[in-house]
Point group: C2
Chain length 460, copies 2
């Protein structure tokens, strides 16, 4: 049963399991105590910190363990912002950061700070010059992920780090998706990561803060983890996290190359096998194991559930798979199609035959969902109209786009279709559909009642 959602959580690496079991016996006591059980725990904690620091590329005393990657980001952002409060209250982030960074930004804004989002291009990468241009006066902190969690695109961390250095602004790199594959390019000031993304256990994140970076931990603290992560250390899991990071790193070059080929196969074959599909993200500067594509005229929820029935576990950035009704902020920032979105992220050890089976199954699954939704375009009307209005109010993704596709052949070339839709995904998906199908997106208006209306001119 192939599990293709390593970017959410990777199955436990055998080394992590082994280390965890050993540390349950040896590392359950309080490492702050001086008796033998405490000393044993302290030795394990120190060794784990050294191993993790080596993998990160920092000094052991620059690194603390946190209860999760999310908490590492929250603590890193709030501590760095507070440490540079006198400089100003500006936080600069890319528009496609992980929600933990954006949530930390929301908390900062709620407390009176400002948050600037640097836009990304269609592949999902920021432009270093555009990022640098935002590092103006009063900038306390900049955040950039090492690679995007939804589309796999690597960010230009080295260039942005250089710009931050020049501007005197510390850079926090969220390395959650990439740390198992290799160290982050030099130049960062703070770094956050999450063990369960590299095959370590849940319950462990890490936060590195370079010496010399002004840092003022927020909230109540205690004497644990240099005052940066309060609460009894989750030691057996920390030991397992460090051991598995070392293990996956030893395998990273070979396994990365192997998975990169499997992903290249998916990137090449999916558009050949499935009509009306858009593969997104940078095809080259990307994580080795992750690929995302979107299928027109399909709703993500049904697609995922059909793939699950076929034995494939994948995730999606489509709005119809989340509770919020808005599509993934990453896809939105990239300006790419969000409907029928599928993210495939291969865990280490993925069998090449499972990828082939996925490619064999996918076309039929997509076709059956499309058929069920009645997405086949209607035959052209004998007398094509000049203007048509499609009322898709109250209908959710992908219905508005399906209705548009059905009638586009019924207006003459040069005529327009206006789609009334109050679904947030339509704002992203109708322009994306136009780009994919060679039609012209005119723009957004509104009905007299205030509902959004999207105007499309038939070009072909």
């Amino acid at each position: 049963m192939p599990y293709f959602d390593a970017a959410s959580a990777a199955p436990l690496h055998p080394v992590a399991r082994q280390a965890l079991l050993a540390a349950l016996d040896e590392g359950w006591a309080d490492p702050a105590r001086l008796y033998r059980e405490g000393r044993r725990a302290r030795l394990l904690l120190d060794a784990a910190r050294e191993a993790a620091a080596e993998a990160v590329g920092c000094r052991p005393d620059e690194l603390v363990f946190t209860p999760s990657g999310t908490r590492a980001v929250h603590s890193g952002v709030s501590g760095a912002l507070a440490g540079r409060r006198r400089v100003g209250g500006r936080l600069v982030v890319s528009a496609v950061e992980h929600s933990s960074v954006l949530h930390a930004g929301e908390a900062h804004a709620a407390a009176g700070g400002t948050v600037t989002e640097v836009p990304v291009g269609r592949t999902g990468a920021v432009d270093p010059a555009a990022f640098a241009a935002e590092l103006g006066e009063g900038t306390a902190l900049a955040c950039l992920q090492s690679a995007n969690h939804e589309v796999g695109t690597e960010q230009p961390v080295a260039e942005v780090a250089e710009a931050c250095r020049a501007a005197g602004v510390p850079l926090l790199v969220d390395a959650a998706q990439s740390l198992g594959w290799g160290p982050v390019p030099e130049g960062w000031s703070l770094l956050a990561a999450s063990a369960h993304k590299w095959g370590g256990p849940a319950g462990v994140g890490l936060l590195a803060v370079r010496k010399g970076v002004r840092f003022a931990p927020q909230g109540p603290s205690d004497e644990r983890e240099s005052g940066r992560a309060p609460g009894f250390e989750n030691l057996p899991a920390i030991v397992a996290a460090a051991a598995s990071l070392r293990a996956v790193r030893a395998e990273a070059a070979a396994e990365g190359a192997r998975l990169r080929e499997l992903v290249d196969r998916i990137r090449a074959r999916v558009p050949e096998l499935v009509p009306d599909v858009e593969v997104v993200g940078d095809p080259v500067r990307r994580l080795p194991h992750l690929v995302t594509f979107s299928c027109l005229y399909v709703d993500g929820e049904t697609l995922l559930s059909e793939l699950d029935r076929e034995g494939f576990s994948v995730s999606s950035g489509s709005s119809c798979t989340s509770s919020t009704l808005t599509p993934s902020h990453v896809l939105r920032a990239m300006g790419v199609l969000s409907e029928g979105n599928v993210r495939v992220s291969l865990p280490a050890g993925t069998d090449s035959a499972d990828v082939d089976r996925f490619l064999a199954v996918l076309p039929g699954v997509v076709a059956s969902v499309r058929e069920r939704l009645g997405a086949a375009p209607a035959a052209a009307e004998p007398e094509p109209a000049q203007e048509l209005v499609v009322d898709a109010l109250g209908k959710r993704c992908p219905i508005p786009v399906i209705e548009l596709a059905k009638v586009i052949g019924s207006v003459r070339v040069g005529g327009t279709v206006t789609v009334l839709s109050d679904d947030a995904a339509a704002r992203l998906d109708i322009p994306a559909w136009c780009e994919m199908r060679g039609q012209r997106y005119v723009g957004e208006t509104a009905t007299p009642q205030g509902a959004p209306a999207y105007v499309v001119r038939r070009a072909t």
Copy 2:
């Protein structure tokens, strides 16, 4: 090798280990995902929440899992204070709360709130009437532990909860030390606990907030754990925590009775076996497994290290075992001796023979430490003086008390000894010594240079 520090961290319960292993295989995926691995994880999480809620005595949707007991307290205190900001900024806590509560109070005070500490009596318990008297206007939250972590004394939770109800003030109960032994008396509004105290794994705390209690989680949040504990759930550890809580509860009555007898044996025998010792805490209204005593003329660090050499792992509230140079705030609040302090907390399953061996070893260990410190009282001078001054400046606990004991026989009855000491422990330990030895503590003055001077009048 007997480990007698269960109040710091209990060794992993076999049920916890078993559940953890099973959940590593079944519960590593993201419980928010809809594919089979995610659904399995969700089922495990839901079942763990139900089991924990049943043990706590609340509804499952009132309980969230946090990364530690400390974080449960921090989130509980900050969320409850923020939820009742309009009522006022007063936080009322007992003077002997766990440091996590006091640290949360410090953060509250730093943000402009006020913190009122309710004093305790000599056994370590608050007086419910005194607690009630502090619940005046503007009180947003009250905190009271179920039982004290250093001396084992149970607090009058039911009476204080009734007073809080009458005053309309929510009560947060820190149940970290007692939850494994049984549910907290009814009437609490919020409850916090920590799995590694009951034999569960590290990395899991729990926070219950009764429906109807105003609660506004602070800091960045996400969709996990009802928005009250951000970050990927530490699921295998959560499953193990819930399973072991259920298991220790099933054994609690029998094991509690057995350990209570062992502790009674220690409470009775230590003062018979060791001269100049004070057993502290309530002898009856107490945790079953915990006892604390203090030995005059002994420094806690040497005592602990000698007991460790004999194979006994215990902890201490003496200042000389911590990095702060101030004795335990609990002992200070109780006004009892802090020097030579030993806390014995027996894990479930402790062998009665190990307790006997501890009692056999302790007198010799204490005597040897006293001998090494030269604590034998000097022979009385032929012509006793009326006044003596002992300069113990720069000397640390227990030297000032040892010097006092050495010379008290050299002043005539009615005469005074003045001890100059800049060690913070002396302020607590010299009056405690007087009480233990039937001498009269006159009070504190200061040298012309400003050093503290403690005046003792010989009474016997």
